[in-house]
Subunit: 287 residues, 2 copies
């Protein structure tokens, strides 16, 4: 089974490691614009061979795991190169534009739009982890537009690496993921920015920061190259979440200014309910 990974970073590299582990006959080919990443991926055993688009004709599976803006250009090119029986997966954090982009491609039925909800704040081949996807959710969009045999192939892989599947239309995916993922990244980046700006001349202050601060700003370590195009592609949903978040923060500030501490208590008590909601989601430990 010839598996091509386009973009051998955290997400693609971790998929490569799991596929190697679960499929004895898998040969992993890596394609990446970054030569250093290809060399690292070879050294780390993430990929077996370096490849180019010209080699895609022999691919059984192609996984496109690159920033979502580059995906929009790369996926149609990949579809142009593959055989009739090859499955092409993308794994990006936005789904509407990518599905739109290939909707009229003659090889649309070779493509499956997926979003494995897994990752860490790190990036590059060295961030790749075996077992990253076990117990995690994978959102699949427009499944009915993919050839049935290729759906089966994809499900076999996801099942073997331990993922549970949810089906969703791309528009709903992008709307909801803005709340449960994209907003968290912005809240974390802006928290980091606020504290760094204030305390930049007083580095000792960070000795006062505990595990709570570390947890809340963890996502502010994420890659700007990956996240800028996500925010761009999901702009209107992200702006909606930001409006609501800012409004809630302003209300909280007004309650403070008005000394309405019973209401502040209630706000926190009502939100404690997140405990039940989160049970089952495992946090990734800081390394």
């Amino acid at each position: 089974m010839n598996v091509f990974i386009i973009g051998v970073g955290l997400i693609g590299g971790s998929l490569a490691l799991d596929i190697q582990k679960e499929f004895d006959n898998a040969i992993i080919y890596g394609i990446d614009r970054n030569e250093d990443h290809i060399e690292e991926a070879l050294t780390l055993g993430i990929i077996n061979e370096k490849a180019t688009n010209e080699d895609l004709a022999i691919a059984d599976i192609v996984i496109v795991s690159i920033p979502v803006d580059v995906s929009l250009q790369v996926i149609p090119e990949v579809l142009n190169h593959i055989s009739e029986t090859c499955l092409v997966l993308d794994v990006g954090s936005t789904k509407e534009l990518v599905c739109e982009g290939i909707s009229n491609h003659p090889k649309r039925r070779n493509f499956l739009a997926t979003h494995p909800i897994a990752g860490t704040e790190f990036s590059g081949p060295q961030a790749a982890l075996t077992g990253l996807y076990r117990g995690k959710t994978n959102i699949i969009c427009e499944v009915e537009k993919t050839a049935f045999k290729l759906q089966e192939k994809a499900l076999e892989i996801f099942s073997k690496i331990g993922m549970r599947i949810r089906y969703m239309d791309p528009k709903s995916h992008d709307k909801h993921i803005a709340y449960v993922s994209h907003l968290s990244h912005i809240s974390s980046f802006m928290l980091g920015k606020t504290v760094i700006e204030k305390e930049k001349n007083e580095r000792d202050i960070f000795d006062m920061a505990g595990s709570g601060f570390a947890s809340t700003v963890r996502l502010a370590k994420s890659s700007p190259a990956m996240w800028t195009p996500i925010f761009e592609q999901n702009k209107s949903n992200v702006i909606e979440t930001l409006n609501e978040y800012i409004q809630n923060l302003q209300n909280f500030k007004t309650l403070l200014e008005e000394n309405n501490f019973s209401e502040i208590y209630s706000e926190m008590e009502n939100t404690n309910h997140i405990k039940q909601i989160l049970s089952g989601i495992q946090e990734v430990k800081l390394s």
Copy 2:
């Protein structure tokens, strides 16, 4: 050594466990308004005996680990009951009001204001952990106002349980802790609120939430009884941090609206610098 813990929850209970481990001769007495907590603490071996304020005359050390509004009333009463050689510590998240409140007490020199920067989002005796304080920072305020022998006693305990000490005046403590701790809690509570409000009728959506969301809203599980009085006592500093945080979020939203993605990239890249700042702070894993 008779050690009295007033408030046998996460913070006081964890101190009790570590003191038992490090001092063979320690007998731990528990005082708590919540009868269930006292019973749990006895069952869990956190305390050896249940006690009342009347027993404080035999105390060598008293640790006051209760919500910061209750502390303001309880600490002067405790000082009224203790012997001349007893050390009283508080461990609250705000330091200015507590220091002001006992500044003229005849037993001021028996008191030491501390803030061990440690904890989890859980509360109560069952949340108490052995080793919680190892490698963490303890901020001590107005150390010069405590009798030298009692400073020594406190430092011996903190050193044995593995804490590093930083000295700071109460005003600076409250200002900086608003940035590196109190603001994180509000950003997390309001993130939780925003997502719960939006998705309350669509519980499946939380299947889409990954470890990033879990990490960013972890603090929204914190106790309102503990945090409401902290925000009240540190109101003006907290409002200042909220103003700056909201401003940064609004700027980010404006950049999105204006399609200024190169600046969005820079904002994130500049904040990535938090990686270096955070190295050394260990995140507490979700249980």
